[in-house]
Symmetry: C2
Subunit: 178 residues, 2 copies
Amino acid sequence: MRYPAEETAAKHERIVKEASRLFRERGFENVTVSEVMKAAGLTHGAFYAHFNSKEELQEAAVAYGQAISAGRVRSHGATKKGLKAFAARYLSARHRDNPGDGCTMVSLAQEVAHSTPEIKAAFEQGLEEILSANSVDRKEAIFQTAALLGGVVLARAVKDPRFSDEILESVRQKISQR
Amino acid sequence: MRYPAEETAAKHERIVKEASRLFRERGFENVTVSEVMKAAGLTHGAFYAHFNSKEELQEAAVAYGQAISAGRVRSHGATKKGLKAFAARYLSARHRDNPGDGCTMVSLAQEVAHSTPEIKAAFEQGLEEILSANSVDRKEAIFQTAALLGGVVLARAVKDPRFSDEILESVRQKISQR
DNA sequence: TGTACATCAGTGAACGCGCGTTCACTGATGTAC
DNA sequence: TGTACATCAGTGAACGCGCGTTCACTGATGTAC
């Protein structure tokens, strides 16, 4: 190998990380392979030394992003109090306004629905981990995940900032009553 | 005018209707102007006699689709029992598997989040109508809308059909307890 | 009423651009002897 | 140890395709006189 294996692995990880961020910010379709490679400090031609296609990168980026989310839930999910704190953060203006650092599902679930079985599988596995990391019973965890996700999705899709804030606040309030 | 005004208006409506269906099925980016025009029984060149851009069509399609949703809520939303029936339908396998006939928000909210202020405004106006048509108090209506939407979004994004069914069933059960 | 003209939705070929992907080439590192 | 060769991630130009948009042209209808 021309480059040490560890350097190659580090570059690979950087590509996935930047892709994950950019995809969450703007969606799969609105991010080019060139942009991702530039963000990772490389040129676009080298991309195919790491992945066979853009689709493969999407799969890796979803898996990476979901793993981050699972980790975040894991660090809060053991107690009911922790889960409330997590929900409050999830439904914050900060999360709404910074999709690149935020939940992969909120940003990409709809595009994943139109994607390959591999990408859906990566999404699904992450969701399973997220549910497992949650201490409430499974049905309740699914319900709360749906409500949180729906709240942020709606908050990002409306035009009026006050309406958007109202959506976040309403879901936050109802979730905290559970 | 070469064609009678009513015929032109009918064609215009057909374009919007087919666009709304196709966009809900596959998203804005995965549907071409040519496909929409073909579905409406015309050739792509005529498109620009009706709209100035694909973006304008997206705006019209969102407004159209949201109006349909508002009508559906209106016909159920007056009573608590009606709302339960609506939620059960919304969280059905049928709705999950037929996005073209389904809720515009579930299919397009994430793309709308990356769209023009005009498209977001059309989305927002529809959401306001949907909330107004709902007889429960506003915060509760927002919360339930978020949970329903999140449930179907998740159910469409996972690979395993049983997991997908479980998501729908869980949200259905928790919603029906309210 | 009849005739010439204006209008404009519709047609389909063509344009231009962007993006995913390919490819010939580079050059630093590892390996063989 | 030194030298020749093989490897392969990386570079950047180029390719090919699809899609939004444009445009010259058509022809049915409405209007003017």
